[in-house]
Amino acid sequence: MFNAFSHSVRGASHEKRDLVCQDASSCRPGDRYAVAVVADGHGSKKHFRSNFGSQFAVEATLETIDRFYEDADSFEQEFPKNHKMVIKNIEKQIISVWNEKVKAHLEANPVTVAEKKVFSDKEFADISPESYYGTTLVAAVAGKGYTFGIQIGDGSLVAIFEDGRAVEPMNYDESAPANVTSSMCNANASGYFNSFYVEGRKLIALFASTDGLYTTFANEHDFQDYHVILASKLDDIETFKQIAVKNITKRSRFGTEDDISLSCVFDEEMVKANIDLLKETIESNKKKAAERKSELLSKKNIKAAMQDD
């Protein structure tokens, strides 16, 4: 049985400026597959409806994955054989559903005078309607025998497989500048997705988060270690919820003050069977972190020519 979790917190900076949370997140637990999804509305001036855009992105993802699983037996059989093509189709479908939702929302809720008055006529004419709703999207899917994820724009995916180590499985395609400019609202947005697919490894947990979480860490190691600690708490979901919600609230309050969304899918049996391994990994990570810091502070006066470029 796959279980799942999701939560979004409004950033402290948004609270101060009385802005709504631009993030959205959701999840779908299940026996055969589970989905965790987060989206981060851009929130800047021309993306003035991005809180709706992120919600639509989350909904579009859950609906699309469900649709692909309508004939679950067939999907599970065919998907591993053609995973690249199927993932591309999922991405295209998500963009299509999102655009439909945006269109429907805009028709039901035309741009108001208040929304428009902050732009000159020319400025407003230059903004595409999809841009009003601009958002990122990160989705994690756990299935029987495979794990995959898709992403457009910034955000993170962290997986923990049977060895108990946290890995970031996404290989960013340099030609698709995912972490710089891409968005659900880009023209030809489906071309900007990055994805990963892993087969034959037993998944413990797969986390998706918006960049509001990542930016509260001093370094990449801490970010990965954090997910191992999270995974070690998944054996008691009620406690996990309390710990995770409290911590991302704290991170938003005392970190970069951005909205934060965290979502995950996990295999309940794998979590229970590997609790000791996860705890050992946490202890090992702590030791390594202390060693790294000690080594950093002890290395002084490094000639530039001696460093690796």
């Binding site: 799942a4 637990p29 026996d31 800047s44 860490f217 919820k241 609230t249 002084k300």
Partner: protein
């Protein structure tokens, strides 16, 4: 949607609905197992580029060492509010040398006293800085939120082709959007060349004595750190959003104004003879 997952969806643990947080949720003082990976505030890197060539030998380098040791606690106070400040020190003489192998949190930073010797490889220092100012190198912290502060201190003219190094630096986006200041030490330092580095004369200052050196380093470093770590996404006057270039221009202008204001007040209060200081 498949039936099984439909059923499962009913058991969904939580949705993204923004629930009001209970008061006890905000009590962060109790045990948090996730605190092993601490929360990093918005972070800023200050790069000090320091001339340690032979002409700096004696009183200049001695004074500089003392000032920098005193400066660290002052910068620490800048960061106390809402910024994690990291420091990277690149010295240049015949060789180009980093004090630490990567930017160090101001909380952990300890000044390593510098010695002066050799020629002035400033161009090489610019090239080295440019190669390190990258998301794949010294600016790789996830919490990095601000363009860096870059503070150059020198007492003379470069002995290598500094223009080639400066060209490499000028092509680096972090340099373009970074807050730049320069301090000329003694009468040999060339303000025009320093202004080429900063892009404006307003953030070039001069120190002709040990006392001035201490004041200038502290004022420039602390002011630049304060301005560098200021969030400027909205313009106060218009409530319009500022782009990266606007933020850079506004910060560099503010730094120039504050430095010039200090210098003007300083001139009135304490005029120091050019030649008596060293």
């Amino acid at each position: 949607m498949s039936k099984k997952n439909n059923d499962a969806a009913e058991k969904e643990i939580t949705t993204a609905a923004q629930a009001d947080l209970d008061d006890d949720l905000l009590d962060f003082d109790d045990d948090d197992p996730l605190s092993a990976t601490s929360v990093s505030k918005k972070s800023l890197v200050i790069f000090f580029l320091i001339d340690t060539s032979g002409s700096m030998r004696g009183k200049k380098i001695g004074e500089l060492n003392t000032v920098m040791e005193e400066l660290i606690p002052e910068i620490r106070r800048v960061g106390e509010a809402d910024t994690d400040v990291k420091v990277a020190v690149l010295t240049f003489s015949t060789d180009v040398t980093w004090m630490y192998s990567e930017p160090i949190s101001i909380e952990d930073f300890e000044w390593s006293r510098l010695r002066a010797d050799g020629v002035t490889s400033m161009g090489e220092a610019f090239k080295e800085l440019s190669s390190r100012m990258s998301r794949n190198s010294y600016l790789n912290s996830p919490s990095l939120s601000f363009a860096p502060v870059i503070f150059l201190m020198t007492d003379g003219y470069p002995s290598d082709d500094y223009k080639a190094g400066l060209e490499a630096l000028q092509a680096n986006s972090w340099y373009k959007f970074g807050l730049k200041a320069a301090l000329g030490i003694g009468s040999e330092a060339n303000d025009d060349m320093l202004a080429e580095f900063t892009g404006t004369k307003d953030t070039v200052v001069h120190a002709y004595s040990g006392g001035q050196l201490a004041q200038m380093i502290k004022v420039v470093a602390v002011t630049a750190s304060q301005i560098g770590s200021k969030s400027m996404t909205l313009s106060d006057e218009t409530n319009e959003e500022l782009g990266a270039e606007d933020v850079f221009a506004a910060k560099q202008k503010l730094l120039g104004q504050q430095i010039q204001e200090f210098i003007n007040n300083q001139d009135e209060a304490d005029t120091v003879s050019f030649d008596t200081g060293w």
